[in-house]
């Protein structure tokens, strides 16, 4: 496999990735790319391997085979804290904010791994402008926030690291439609300012509206990929790829 050239390489390049939990293969030979400035959606049913893929990129799980490159640099053997320092932040499934810590302390820890300390205060202000409700709740324990507020905090915490790539795992999970709207509006705002995202979502419509491109994953393999506009125009192909009925 040729080493990608850092000059023209995509920001994130995954080649032939295989991940197993014991004898069970969760990801079977996935290759995908995310270019700088792009928003890419990763769709698929429960158990398709989407979260596993994100957790592998973040270094929580070691792949059995394949490579993960960030801007041409192999990161698949690095510790999670190194990967965050290299520029990948991850807002995990179920938000996982630190419930006993205040909102302000959650944000502070989001930036703890960051080398470049300049602009930290401005960054925080910008994020609090994006999610004004967090400003009102700065001193409150994160565990007392509503689900939607916790999702906003999880996003803001990840962005405090000033990532080159933001991994989002089901930001709409379990939220009321109105809140989902607000979250996706915020994500659209982030996209406009050039934040690169790899988004795992069950909410296909919202994901395709936000994303430039999408991959559909089923039983650990990519079954379909294409530009969002194209995929939106052909919902049947997505359904086939999702569920494995008929030809994709």
């Amino acid at each position: 496999m040729a080493k990608p050239d850092p000059g023209t390489a995509p920001l994130l390049a995954i080649e032939g990735l295989r991940v197993s939990y014991g004898p069970v293969a969760a990801v079977r030979g996935v290759s995908l790319a995310v270019r700088a400035g792009e928003v890419v959606a990763l769709l698929g049913a429960n158990g398709a391997g989407k979260s596993t893929l994100l957790r592998t990129i973040s270094g929580l799980i070691r792949p059995r085979a394949g490579r993960v490159h960030l801007a041409g640099r192999a990161i698949d053997r690095l510790a999670p804290s190194r990967i965050v320092r290299l520029g990948i932040a991850h807002a995990p499934e179920g938000r996982r904010v630190f419930g006993s810590l205040s909102v302000a302390d959650n944000l502070r820890l989001g930036a703890a791994a960051r080398r470049e300390r300049a602009g930290l205060v401005e960054e925080r202000e910008r994020l609090l402008d994006l999610f004004p409700i967090l400003r009102e709740r700065l001193r409150q324990a994160a565990g007392t926030l509503s689900g939607g507020e916790q999702q906003m905090l999880a996003l803001a915490r990840a962005l405090m690291a000033k990532p080159r790539l933001l991994l989002l795992d089901e930001p709409s999970l379990g939220l009321a439609p109105l809140i989902v709207r607000a979250i996706f509006d915020a994500l659209a705002g982030l996209k406009r300012v050039g934040v690169t995202m790899l988004l795992v979502e069950q909410n296909v419509a919202a994901a395709l509206e936000l994303a430039d491109r999408a991959y559909v994953l089923r039983t650990g393999e990519i079954r379909l990929e294409g530009a969002s506009a194209e995929l939106r125009a052909d919902p049947e192909r997505i359904a086939h790829a999702y569920l494995g009925t008929g030809a994709a």
Binding site: S58, P80, V84, P92, R96, F98, L101, D105, A158, L173
Partner: protein
């Protein structure tokens, strides 16, 4: 003696004893919080602290400096134990962790017996620590060591409070204790945080050990056993894994023990420890999460 003065005297005793329990319980709870492991060797860091103080004192170091170095030796011993005994088994089943920590306890205590024999040794304290103060015509007495215990514990706990609420490392330790995966994902260096937790916890145990030895006047290789058990009870009462809970539990346990001896008929006093452990069982049965517990549920 008037009942008010008697109660005041007992309150001083209770705070002094509770301080020691709190010092040890906090460390036990901290390590449990981050590793989900009961570190039985925690009590042995008290032994290390006390013996190191004794040795350095014997070498001619003034007591204050010997004690400071001894306390730090306790902290260092904790870091070494984490590195060579606990890190290799991290992530193993609970039983493995439990047996490892018991094994470390036996190794350290037997090492102590090998080096210092099993007979108790005098723990000499300087004259200024040997005195006592009397108030209200001798109705209230507190020894200099009581006073030092209370003050040093207060200082240590204030420092700890600052550490875990105002510094990145302290906040990171609490974050990792609450959700290890999320701590990884925000880029915290979890290995370093675990070392920091052991260093802090064991330094507290070292301080507890020096104060314990100064109060009792003796050191012996198994001196950590009883305080460890009591700290364990205190941590359970407070809510295992919670720093605030361990403090509360420590002071409550101190107060309870003093009250049992001071206010119940003298025939009950010998059963003090039995009552304490009955309380432990009651908590495990009816309130296993303890008095203070962090909200852990995931909200949707």
């Amino acid at each position: 003696m008037s009942p008010g003065l008697y109660a005041t005297q007992q309150a001083i005793n209770a705070v002094s004893l509770g301080s020691l329990y709190a010092l040890v319980a906090v460390g036990l709870s901290m390590v449990f919080g981050i590793l989900r492991m009961t570190n039985f060797a925690h009590g042995d860091m008290m032994m290390v602290g006390a013996f190191a103080t004794l040795l350095l004192g014997a070498l001619g170091l003034p007591f204050g400096w010997a004690a400071l170095a001894g306390i730090l030796a306790g902290g260092l011993a904790g870091v070494i134990v984490e590195r060579i005994a606990y890190r290799p088994v991290r992530g193993s089943p609970d039983v493995t962790l439990l047996l490892t920590s018991l094994a470390v306890t036996y190794i350290l205590e037997n090492l102590g017996i090998l080096l210092f024999t099993s007979s108790p040794r005098n723990f000499p304290v300087p004259g200024w620590l040997d005195g006592s103060f009397q108030l209200a015509d001798g109705a209230i007495t507190f020894t200099a060591i009581n006073l030092l215990t209370i003050v040093l514990t207060l200082v240590a706990l204030l420092l700890l409070g600052w550490f875990v609420t105002r510094t990145d490392v302290g906040l990171g330790m609490r974050a990792a204790a609450e959700d290890m995966t999320a701590a990884h994902l925000v880029g915290l260096d979890v290995n370093f945080l675990i070392v920091a937790a052991f260093a802090t916890a064991s330094t507290f145990a070292g301080l507890g050990g020096v104060l314990w030895a100064a109060q009792s006047g003796v050191v012996e290789p198994t001196m950590g056993f009883t305080p460890l058990l009591k700290a364990f009870v205190a941590a359970i009462i407070g809510g295992f894994g919670s720093i605030a809970g361990a403090l509360l539990g420590g002071y409550l346990l101190g107060a309870l023990e003093v009250c049992i001896v001071a206010f119940l008929p003298s025939t009950v006093s010998p059963y003090r420890d039995a009552l304490v452990f009955a309380l432990l069982i009651a908590f495990l049965l009816f309130r296993p999460a303890g008095l203070v517990h962090a909200p852990q549920e995931v909200k949707l």
